[in-house]
């Protein structure tokens, strides 16, 4: 029994290492492949030391920031999905589906129309919007037992995001000037995002990392139920509040950089749980490579399929995420996390 556990641990270590290798490989591909005129072989020869100013510009100024942003966004969305699912005890709780991303997008659109434009301001606004969205959804979940039924909660979230989406569209129509600025961003994508945005969100992401490290243990105790967790000496209310804060900061940051991208927070923990089992700490570890892997893979595909133009990233994540949602719903018994 114990031996089996250890080998399983070992297997998981190997698996994690494999995933990290895959991530590195995908990152390299992400540097090499693009919608533009620089071919993979040109980019490769440049990386190997040959002079090519056009390739240099495209790879280091366009594709490298894009890859870095993809990694950050993937990690943030994957981890926040796993956290939200653990705290809502609902395998379908996804920041995009439940309206957290829509809250962030709405807040940014509102702020832009009201005259804000600085990049850093946009991030904090998005984070506040995500927080409000998160609180709304969890408030709904506690209301009259809506949250006891995972599927009902998802429906409420979908209705809430649809509403926020319509309001965002309305704001955009209302103000043509900011519309042009926002419309580009309101469709989730990694194309043309600025590296400065990434630097601007790094502090809050670092803060979240520390916070998650602190609450991971009590959070896994929370999976045993609120009473059990208090019995083990934890404070469920406090843990929940901190998780909500983390989710809001992470989703807000990711949305501020890349725009709303849905279904990633559903798919990533779904796969991670398949590898890691039910324990939230191990799931979080697995989310770290899987999230960027999926985002980068989707991004690469989005550059290639309709080349020379590009596909919004959200389209691809929806195409692969919706079947996962349907499969999860069709499963006879939805495990309560």
């Amino acid at each position: 029994m114990k031996v089996a556990l250890i080998t399983r641990r070992l297997e998981q270590r190997t698996l994690l290492a494999l995933l990290l290798t895959a991530l590195v490989a995908v990152s390299v591909v992400s540097l090499l492949v693009g919608a533009g005129t620089v071919s993979p072989s040109q980019a490769l020869s440049m990386l190997l030391g040959n002079e090519n100013s056009e390739a240099y510009f495209v790879v280091w100024e366009l594709r490298a920031p894009r890859t870095l942003i993809g990694i950050a966004v993937g990690m943030a969305l994957g981890v926040s999905g796993a956290l939200l699912q653990a705290v809502a005890r609902n395998p379908l709780a996804e920041p995009g589906l439940l309206g957290v991303s829509a809250g962030a997008a709405f807040a940014v659109a509102l702020a832009l129309v009201l005259g804000a434009s600085a990049a850093s301001l946009r991030i904090s606004v998005a984070q506040v919007g995500a927080l409000v969205g998160c609180l709304c959804v969890l408030g709904v979940a506690r209301w009259r037992g809506v949250g006891n039924d995972p599927i009902r909660l998802v429906l409420a979230g979908a209705a809430f995001s649809a509403l926020l989406g319509a309001m965002t569209s309305m704001i955009l129509l209302f103000d043509q000037r900011s519309a042009d600025e926002v419309r580009f961003w309101v469709i989730g994508s990694l194309a043309g995002r600025r590296l400065e945005d990434l630097w601007a969100v790094l502090p809050s992401m670092a803060f979240c990392t520390v916070l998650i490290a602190l609450i991971a243990r009590p959070l896994s105790a929370l999976a045993l139920g609120e009473r059990m967790a208090s019995g083990l000496g934890h404070h469920p209310q406090l843990i929940r509040a901190m998780v909500v804060l983390c989710v809001a900061l992470l989703v807000g940051a990711a949305t501020a950089i890349a725009g709303p991208i849905i279904f990633v927070g559903l798919v990533v923990p779904f796969i991670a749980r398949a590898f890691a089992g039910p324990d939230i700490r191990r799931t979080l570890w697995f989310c770290l490579p899987i999230g960027p892997l999926i985002i980068l893979a989707a991004d690469i595909i989005s550059r290639v399929v309709v080349s020379p133009s590009e596909l919004p990233l959200g389209v691809l994540t929806a195409l692969c995420g919706a079947p996962v949602l349907i499969a999860a719903v069709r499963a006879r018994r939805l495990p309560m996390l």
Binding site: I151, L155, L163, S169, Q176, V306, E310, L311, L325, I326
Partner: protein, 381 residues
């Protein structure tokens, strides 16, 4: 109750009287009997020569009221806009009198759009109430379970010219059928009553929504921009042909729905009960599904996915009506009314900017949907 009473009190004395005589006497309708017939509470009865027709009073009032409201909303719709007209001017313009400019404004611009609004609203709401009844699920409207999105994706394919020369209506129909087959196929086994069915439908809708985006991303930016308002639901981008097609479809569909009304009422019970009452539930449900899908597709071909009307219209109709029937007529009228008012609001509230009607209905319908979800669950002891 059972705790506070001794069991003896629960024993019910059934009347022994002339029940046997009642059961076994051959039914006979005599003229003398006719006099003593009292219509059930809330109905008018019209009878003569072996026929008897019941008319629900409430339904008459509700439908008349909705029709009047629709008429008023229609006049307001023709009056208001970039150029505000007097109701008298509108009426004389409709009669073909008055000055040229007003005549053009009313007859060529606003009236066709009003007609399109009424037809699409009616069709969406009728399709909505049919689907809800068929699935025995208040949330199962074509808009929510992905059928609108399926129709939109296929219709966009024809608009952006993916080497398809078929009319948008035909393409929308293909898409709607595909989405319906997917959603109902995926729900097979788990039934259509629970929330699972709805979420599966949302998933299907998300796939088709993504396909729409993908199609738009593939074409030139101008074509995409032209198709955009239509993908969120707008009466701006309608083509005359698809409106005519919708008019014919709605007329036939409405008659078919009326013919199905009695079965619809029974189908609200479980399948077994419906069969026990002599309704061939399976066959009827296929007919109703087909009707609902066709109506949705024709309406989407005109206005894009304004699916929320399919939720709001039936909700209003049910709130106004009694639970004795499925309010098919009231839902159609309420849908048309909502669509006319929503498009009027979209045209005038933020003028000169025009809000697509799909956004207006989403903003009204979203909270409504949330409210439905938040209601306490109905419990069955």
């Amino acid at each position: 109750m059972s705790l506070s009473m001794p069991p003896r009190c629960l024993k019910t004395e059934f009347r022994k009287q002339d029940t046997a005589a009642l059961l076994f006497s051959a039914p006979s309708i005599k003229a003398a009997d006719e006099v003593s017939v009292i219509p059930p509470t809330g109905y008018w009865r019209w009878s003569g020569r072996g026929t008897s027709i019941l008319i629900e009073r409430r339904a008459v009032w509700v439908n008349t009221g909705l029709l009047l409201a629709l008429l008023l909303a229609g006049i307001a719709y023709l009056c208001l806009g970039s150029l505000t007209l007097d109701p008298r001017e509108v009426i004389s313009a409709l009669a073909g009198q008055g000055d040229m400019m007003t005549g053009f404004m009313v007859q060529e611009l606003r009236l066709p759009r009003l007609v399109a609004a009424c037809l699409t609203g009616g069709a969406f709401a009728l399709a909505g109430i049919l689907m809800q009844t068929l699935a025995r699920n208040r949330l199962a409207t074509p808009g929510i379970i992905g059928i609108d999105n399926g129709a939109t994706a296929f219709a966009v394919a024809s608009v952006v010219g993916m080497s398809v020369s078929l009319a948008p209506s035909a393409m929308a129909l293909t898409g709607a059928v595909t989405a319906a087959v997917l959603t109902f196929g995926l729900a097979a086994g788990s039934g259509t009553q629970g929330y699972r069915f709805i979420v599966a439908g949302i998933g299907v809708g998300a796939v088709f929504g993504a396909i729409t985006q993908l199609l738009l991303a593939r074409v030139a930016i101008d074509t995409a921009n032209a198709a955009y308002p239509w993908t969120v639901g707008s009466l701006n981008a309608r083509s005359g042909g698809s409106v005519q097609l919708l008019g014919i479809g709605l007329m036939l569909g409405f008659v078919a729905a009326l013919a199905l009304a009695r079965s619809l009422t029974i189908l609200r019970f479980s399948e077994a009960t419906a069969n026990g009452l002599g309704v061939n539930a399976k066959a009827r449900r296929v007919q109703i599904l087909l009707l609902s899908v066709v109506l949705t597709a024709l309406a989407v071909a005109v206005a894009g996915p304004v699916g929320m009307v399919g939720l709001i219209g039936p909700e209003i109709a049910r709130a106004l009506s009694t639970p004795r029937h499925v309010p098919v007529v009231a839902a159609t009228l309420a849908g048309a009314l909502v669509m006319v008012l929503a498009d009027l609001a979209g045209r005038t509230l933020l003028a000169p900017i025009e809000l697509p009607v799909g956004i207006v209905t989403a903003i009204i319908g979203g909270p409504w949907l949330l409210w439905i979800l938040m209601r306490p669950q109905r419990s069955h002891a």
